[in-house]
Amino acid sequence: MNKPVLLIFGLVVTIVALAIIRTSIANNIVTSGVVLAQIQEQSDQYKLENSILYEKLYALSSLTNVAQKAYDLGYQDQASDFVLGKQTVALKQ
């Protein structure tokens, strides 16, 4: 065969081969949308669970909650310093 015919033959074969490969890959990946959607659903579910757990964690570890629990358990603050607002009258015997 002469060179031009060989070249055209080669190009046609390449084009056909690439078309077959593209079709094959597209066919395979188009159904992976289902799998991806399942993974996305799982990911969303984990994010939701994380969110719920974080909420509980924040509520339990908040200083407001800890202080209330401490109060319920009987812990009390030290008394503030006693302050005299005015001079008292000293009692004489």
Binding site: I29, V30, T31, S32, G33, V34, L36, A37, L48, S51, I52, Y54, E55, Y58, A59, S61, S62, L63, T64, A67, S80, D81, V83, L84, G85, K86
Partner: protein, 560 residues
């Protein structure tokens, strides 16, 4: 014969070209339109709501975060037994039976029933398997520390279009940063509803909001709010506020007001409580203003600490007014150190007159008095100083001791912080850094606004204020063993052209440790009834908190 071959060849080429042109028309020219049509038929467009950014204290704990809730909606056309479903739903939703009946009677495909439904309630409703009922995920603002720093945070409300919008405080000031950007995602499905991985799918371009990391210390804020509430109740004040700042950076470590509101249920509280009085309420500061005037006078060398007051032997007459000391005690020939120690109004008149109006106005401007500090909170107010030609001699005199001039607490705190920071005035900053959705953090550097006094003058003024704490009227409440610089304030309240003789704004401002201040604090009680004096009300609160702060920072007594 050759012409027949050529004719056939030309015909083939012609029809081939026709097909190419037609393909070009459908695949290139009409492509966008046909893609859109296909998306409509097979694609589902979903609005993706961004998650609002968190507001976190310096230890990473969120004061405001987003909680997942659900909007319960119904398709009335799919519901057969409306009465049964209404009864089932009414057990779980906060909506009455009548309202549900009205909603489900509508001739629509989509009707909202209730928003803000918790995940637990949603799960219970799902178990009922009610036809025609669906759920849409939403975000709702959640405050793990309840009403802590409520006026600093602000709250999340709605705008006229019903979209989330921040109001007041940080939620208002940083609303755009926190909001993020809504997006749309398109997914293509087959005839059975299964998703197809196709080029028509577009990922959402939604961007979550940025998180704010504050300078606020959660433990200090908690302590301050507790002590403030106790103090307001103990001294019978109508309200109170406390602000604590790092003088070196301007970072706000704590800011509390009492009474306050719950940002989650802000609509249940009066609107007056939404404003942060620490940045928006103007008041005449009284004696807590004296260090500002005194330090500037020292800086301008119009006086020295040893200068003797030659008008302090009795009340001072200025512009037809007689100016007295707070207790009508007078110290002839008193020096400037004693003027602050005794909180001597006549001594401060002497200083103000020595300073002169030009210097006074310049000094006040350098200390930021009469202008916004630029703090990153929505709602800051300030009262501009009068023009120079409107000042009378009595105005100059009274400004010397903090009456006849209006400031916000944050202005005063920022000005006193300059004395604690070698004379450098810093911009108050609530937010320390911003965290992007990708996790990268952008810090907000401290900003120097001005240098009203030299480091040497600041040192001298600090010693004068330490002396005032050790020997002044609040000395009984001071912390022994620590060098704390401070000043009491008992400011009269102007009412209808005169000053109320029975009510005051009691305050105390100070910083510690004096030699290397970790914090500067301002305590204000509005109209205390147990005593009208700052030395007997605000000062004990200050020292009580200061004691806890010094222990928190692990600062040992200096032995003095």
């Amino acid at each position: 014969m050759t012409w027949r071959y050529r004719l056939v060849f030309a015909s083939i080429v012609f029809f081939f070209l026709l097909i190419v042109v037609r393909l070009f028309y459908w695949q290139v020219v009409r492509a966008p339109e046909l893609s859109a049509l296909a998306q409509e038929q097979y694609g589902t467009a979903v609005n993706v709501q961004p998650q609002r950014g968190d507001i976190e204290t310096s230890d990473g704990f969120p004061l405001a975060t987003s909680q997942i809730t659900y909007l319960v909606f119904a398709n009335p056309k799919e519901i057969q037994n409306k009465n049964e479903e209404i009864l089932s739903l009414s057990k779980y939703l906060d909506v009455g039976v009548a309202s549900l009946s009205a909603d489900l009677a509508l001739d629509r495909f989509w009707v909202p029933l209730e928003s803000g439904v918790s995940i637990e309630v949603k799960s219970e409703i799902e178990k009922l398997n009610l036809p025609g009922i669906g759920f849409s995920q939403q975000y709702e603002r959640f405050y793990p520390e309840a009403s802590m720093a409520a006026q600093l945070l602000g709250f999340l409300g709605k705008d006229e279009q019903g979209n989330d919008k921040g109001y007041f405080g940080l939620e208002g000031y940083y609303d755009r940063l926190l909001s993020g950007k809504e997006g749309v995602a398109v997914q293509v499905h087959d005839a059975f509803g299964r998703p197809i991985l196709a080029s028509m799918n577009t990922t959402s371009n939604a961007t979550d909001g940025q998180n704010l990391i504050l300078n606020l210390n959660r433990s200090i804020q908690f302590l301050v709010e507790k002590k403030l509430k106790e103090g307001v109740e103990k001294y019978g004040a109508s309200s109170g506020m406390i602000g604590i700042m790092d003088p070196k950076t301007g970072g706000i470590l704590a800011m509390a007001s009492y009474p306050k509101f719950d940002p989650r249920d802000y609509q249940d509280y009066p609107e007056e409580l939404y404003m942060n009085p620490f940045i928006s309420d103007l008041y005449e500061p009284g004696s807590t203003f004296k260090p500002i005037v005194m330090s500037y006078a020292l800086n301008q060398n119009v006086i020295t600490p040893q200068t003797r007051c030659n008008i302090c032997s009795g009340p001072v007459e200025v512009g037809g007014y007689a100016i007295h000391t707070w207790n009508d005690k007078y110290f002839p020939g008193t020096d400037m150190i004693s003027v602050i120690q005794h909180s001597d109004n006549t001594g401060m008149v002497f200083v103000a007159q020595k300073l002169g109006l030009d210097n006074m106005l310049t000094g006040l401007g350098k200390f930021g008095i009469g202008s916004d500090t630029g703090i990153d909170l929505q709602g800051e107010a300030s009262a501009a100083l009068k023009p120079k030609d409107q000042w009378y001699a009595v105005d100059l005199a009274t400004t010397g001791f903090g009456q006849g001039i209006s400031v916000t607490p944050i202005e005063l705190l920022d000005a006193i912080a300059a004395i604690a920071n070698d004379g450098k005035r810093m911009q108050p900053e609530v937010v320390k850094a911003v965290e992007n959705p990708d996790g990268s953090i952008v810090g907000i550097p401290p900003k120097v606004l001005d240098q009203p006094i030299s480091p040497q003058t600041a040192k001298v003024m600090t010693e004068i204020m330490v002396n005032a704490v050790n020997k002044g009227e609040a000395s009984f409440a001071r912390l022994k063993g620590y060098r704390i610089a401070g000043k009491t304030g008992t400011a009269s309240i102007p009412i209808a052209g005169h000053y109320d003789p029975t009510q005051t704004i009691a305050s105390f401002v100070g910083f510690a440790p004096a030699d290397n201040p970790k914090f500067v604090m301002l305590v204000i009680l509005n109209r205390p009834t147990a005593s009208i004096y700052g030395a007997e009300t605000a000062a004990p609160i200050f020292f009580d908190i200061a004691k806890s702060l010094l222990e928190y920072y692990g600062i040992p007594p200096s032995g003095e």
